[in-house]
């Protein structure tokens, strides 16, 4: 910067204007001065040359030597004045002319040497020896917290630049004619600055004290106790003008910044609440970049400084503490849903590429919290809604705090899939039940849009489940009940759920479910033709509006065959239907699923007529009392008349005699039905409503049913595993045990993870069934 032309001129002005400003100034002045120089110089040559020749008779060299000495003497005097901040005695014009004359008689070189020596002397004696050095030495031996070295140097700097300017003006001719064309020399100003730098800044004692005092200023500025930040900016400006910013100042400044923030982090990282700590970091970043902006540097140096200072702050405050910060506060922030702090944390961490830590901690958090929701059987009933709440909360956090970061949302998905499958089968079951509740009639408080939204959000959970077969089994069972007992809230909702499932799991998953819908529709058409046929007469005569769902066994869950003794007119109605059905569909056989049958019954109690919705079992039991009005029937009598087994009968009687609506009274009283109990019609039965529903027991799932579903799923899985094993054996003929297990796991992966024990058990079963046999210790052979 000091060595080329454009920066020669006057980079400095007394009022410490910016560099750019002063050089613009110089550029504006330069042409004008050059013009003056040429004009007056031309005239002067005519008058001066004869007079210098006539004043002495000595040789031209000796003559110019003595002229040089006398001129230098007056110049030196003037310099002395300037350097002691006084005006020179001689006029500036005379001095200027003297310089010009010397240059014209080839004395420029010696004049320059003299001037340099004089300037060096001035700096080293007046500035260094008499003022700065003693102060610096004193400070070096006894470090003080109000080290004002920077102030002093800035002060000296101000003086020197002012003096240098005058000197430059005095020696302007030398500057423009000799120094400009000499490649070995710098301009007067540049030389002056270089001397200043060399003698003061690079002086070991003074320089180190300058830095020390500057660092003290920064320290004070950071703690907001610095009265006047002007000192800092003028010192930095000086440093940058002297071109030692990069070499001396910057490394020390960055290092001091590092130390400062290391201390700050040491003091706070382990104790300060995380939100505050994050704010502190952000504030520090803002402060440091603000402070660096005030340095009045040029653009690239400034952005460079800001970048390195920010990097240092982040490294010290966050990077080196990342683990502590995450382990100390991340979970709490998530718990509190502190979006602002989480967002701060995410931003800082991802800038430092520490987001892996966050991802890991996030995943860990989800796994732990999620497992807590899922693992306890006591919370099964509320599991799905709490999972949905949890998921919603995480979605909000990811969206608004983590700006939808892919890594984090992947981590969430993986963690969900992991913890939800930690508990075997139950989450799948609970999701199926939750959907059942949504779709069941009587759930009218939701409008369609909300219902859709709920279904979609449950499906998100469903996506994580590995044991989709469990879900399917329960969903199917619940769907069957909804369809057959007319308890479905709306056909549209059922169908849109089906569409969602189809999109999620593909065609084959929903084929059976669709078959169920188809069956109920076929039945509807079929019943229409039945009503018009002669076969329906028997039911009509009995006063019964008979409606039959004729289902294909394959699509529906299997239900037990119940031996139920129906009253004569009822069984003849069914027989007629059967005859009609078989006349239309040849080659088929019909079995009745009485468990699912339900009736609307009119009962005239002494205190009013009622219409009761009840299960077929309940109806058949109640009909028995038609014949024995006012008399009681024992448990055994009922059992004999209905032919029901104990479990079904107990449940039926319980619902009639021990529920909320008691159509029967029981002797002795009590919650449980036991053999030997006696039942009579409850003649005092009354209720506000005319239509009553007492078939809830039919809707509710019994523990046996639940167990049955689980067993069915287990059985199906076993068949599937065996099927897979046979398929592998068929292609390979002989397979090593390890390889067989590996391939089995591979092929059943999408169904969910298998227990090794399950695989072994099924291999054993297949060996027993002669599908394969052992050969040696660890090899199997397929038997075709």
């Amino acid at each position: 910067m000091l060595s080329n032309f454009p920066s020669r001129g006057l980079p400095l002005s007394l009022d410490s204007a910016t560099l750019t400003k002063s050089s613009r100034l110089a550029a504006a002045q330069r042409p004008k001065r050059q013009k003056q120089l040429l004009g007056s110089g031309g005239a002067r040559r005519l008058t001066l040359t004869p007079s210098s020749n006539s004043s002495s008779v000595a040789s031209p060299d000796a003559l110019s030597d003595s002229y040089f000495n006398s001129t230098w003497k007056s110049l030196n005097l003037a310099l002395n004045n300037v350097f002691s901040d006084q005006s020179p005695d001689a006029s500036f014009e005379a001095l200027y002319r003297g310089v010009e004359n010397l240059c014209r008689v080839d004395k420029a070189r010696s004049l320059w040497e003299n001037l340099k020596m004089r300037m060096a002397h001035h700096i080293s004696v007046d500035f260094v020896k008499n003022s700065l050095l003693p102060a610096a030495t004193a400070l070096a031996s006894t470090p003080s917290t109000d080290n004002d070295m920077a102030d002093r140097i800035v002060d000296v700097w101000g003086k020197w630049t002012a003096q240098l300017k005058i000197v430059q003006h005095m020696f302007f001719y030398l500057d423009r004619s000799y120094l400009l064309s000499s490649s070995a020399d710098l301009s007067i100003v540049d030389t002056g600055l270089q001397m200043f730098c060399k003698l003061i800044i690079e002086n070991e004692v003074i320089g180190s004290q300058l830095m020390a005092s500057l660092m003290l200023y920064f320290e004070r500025n950071r703690s907001h106790t610095l009265a006047d930040s002007h000192a800092i900016s003028s010192a930095v400006e000086m440093i940058s003008t002297l071109d030692v910013y990069r070499t001396i100042f910057h490394p020390q400044f960055v290092e001091a910044t590092r130390l400062h923030y290391r201390k700050l982090a040491d003091a706070n990282a382990d104790s300060m609440p995380i939100p505050e700590y994050l704010n502190l970091t952000l504030d520090s970043l803002a402060f440091e970049s603000e402070q660096a902006t005030q340095f009045l540097l040029n653009h690239s140096t400034r952005s460079n400084t800001i970048a390195s200072v920010k990097a240092v702050v982040k490294a010290e405050m966050i990077q080196s503490r990342a683990k502590t910060l995450v382990s100390r506060g991340f979970d709490a922030l998530l718990d509190a849903e502190d979006i602002t702090s989480l967002s701060n944390m995410y931003t800082l961490f991802s800038q430092l590429s520490q987001d892996k830590l966050l991802v890991a901690a996030f995943a860990e958090y989800i796994k732990r919290e999620g497992l807590g929701l899922v693992i306890d059987p006591a919370n099964d009933a509320s599991m799905v809604s709490s999972l949905l709440g949890f998921k919603r909360k995480l979605d909000v956090i990811i969206d608004s705090a983590f700006s939808g970061d892919d890594n984090l949302s992947n981590a969430m998905r993986e963690s969900f899939a992991l913890f939800i499958n930690k508990r075997h089968n139950v989450p799948a079951e609970m999701i199926a039940k939750y959907i059942d509740e949504l779709l069941r009639a009587g759930n009218k408080q939701m409008d369609d849009a909300e219902l859709e939204a709920r279904m979609a959000s449950v499906l998100v959970l469903f996506r994580f489940i590995q044991g989709k077969d469990v879900f399917e089994a329960f969903y199917k069972r619940d769907l069957a009940k909804r369809l057959l007992l007319n308890r479905s809230a709306s056909d549209d909702a059922e169908r849109s759920m089906l569409t969602l499932l189809k999109d999620e799991c593909g065609n084959s998953f929903t084929q059976k479910l669709e078959g169920m819908f188809k069956d109920t529709e076929i039945s509807k058409d079929f019943m229409a033709s039945f009503k018009n046929s002669k076969y329906s007469a028997a039911a009509r005569e009995a006063g019964i509006d008979l409606y039959v769902n004729a289902l294909s066994q394959a699509f529906w869950p299997s239900y037990p065959d119940t031996a139920l003794a129906l009253p004569r007119e009822m069984s003849s109605a069914l027989e007629n239907f059967e005859a009609f059905y078989l006349s239309k569909q040849s080659g088929r056989k019909i079995s009745w699923r009485h468990v699912l049958g339900h009736c609307v019954v009119r009962a005239s109690f002494p205190r009013g007529k009622k219409e009761l919705s009840m299960s077929l079992f309940q109806t058949v039991v109640l009909l028995l009392f038609n014949d024995v009005t006012n008399e009681s029937l024992t448990y055994e009598q009922i059992k004999k008349a209905t032919n029901l087994d104990d479990a079904d009968l107990t449940r039926t009687l319980q619902s009639l005699a021990c529920g909320k609506l008691r159509v029967l009274t029981k002797e002795p009283r009590g919650k449980d039905v036991n053999p030997g109990d006696r039942f009579t019609i409850n003649l005092k039965f009354e209720d506000k409503a005319y239509r009553l529903r007492i078939n809830q027991v039919q809707l509710r799932e019994t523990p046996e049913e639940n167990k049955q579903v689980h067993e069915m799923v287990k059985r199906d899985r076993e068949y599937e595993i065996q099927g897979v094993i046979v398929r592998i054996m068929k292609t390979h003929k002989t397979v090593k045990h390890v390889e067989l297990v590996r391939q089995t796991i591979e092929m059943t992966k999408e169904r969910g993870t298998l227990d090794l024990a399950d695989i072994k058990k099924n291999i054993e079963k297949l060996i027993n069934k002669d599908y394969m046999e052992r050969q040696g210790a660890d090899t199997y052979v397929y038997l075709s």
């Binding site: 057959l484 294909s552 394959a554 109605a573 080659g587 109806t619 009909l623 019609i681």
Partner: protein, 86 residues
């Protein structure tokens, strides 16, 4: 007190009425199951019964009848296969 039934929703399921637990003579899979090409039993995979009273999965038999070696005969009794009419 008198109780009468107004409406009765009954439920029934059907399956093929051709001897319980018997298997198709071609694919050896139960009649209530499916032929090897079908995924779901029931309406999608019906049975076919010949005049000779032999029953098969319809898909199995049709496939057999398209082969040259079948010569249109029932695979069980080698009589000409004709679908029985009730």
């Amino acid at each position: 007190m008198k109780v009468t039934i107004d409406r009765w929703n009954a439920v029934s399921t059907w399956h093929w009425n051709h001897g319980q637990d018997e298997v198709c003579g071609i694919c050896r899979v139960a009649f209530d199951g499916t032929c090897p090409t079908c995924k779901y039993p029931g309406d999608d995979c019906p049975l076919i019964i010949g005049e000779c009273k032999h029953a098969f999965h319809m898909h199995c038999l049709l496939k057999w009848l398209t082969t040259d070696s079948s010569k249109g005969l029932c695979p069980m009794c080698r009589r000409r296969f004709k679908t029985a009419t009730d």
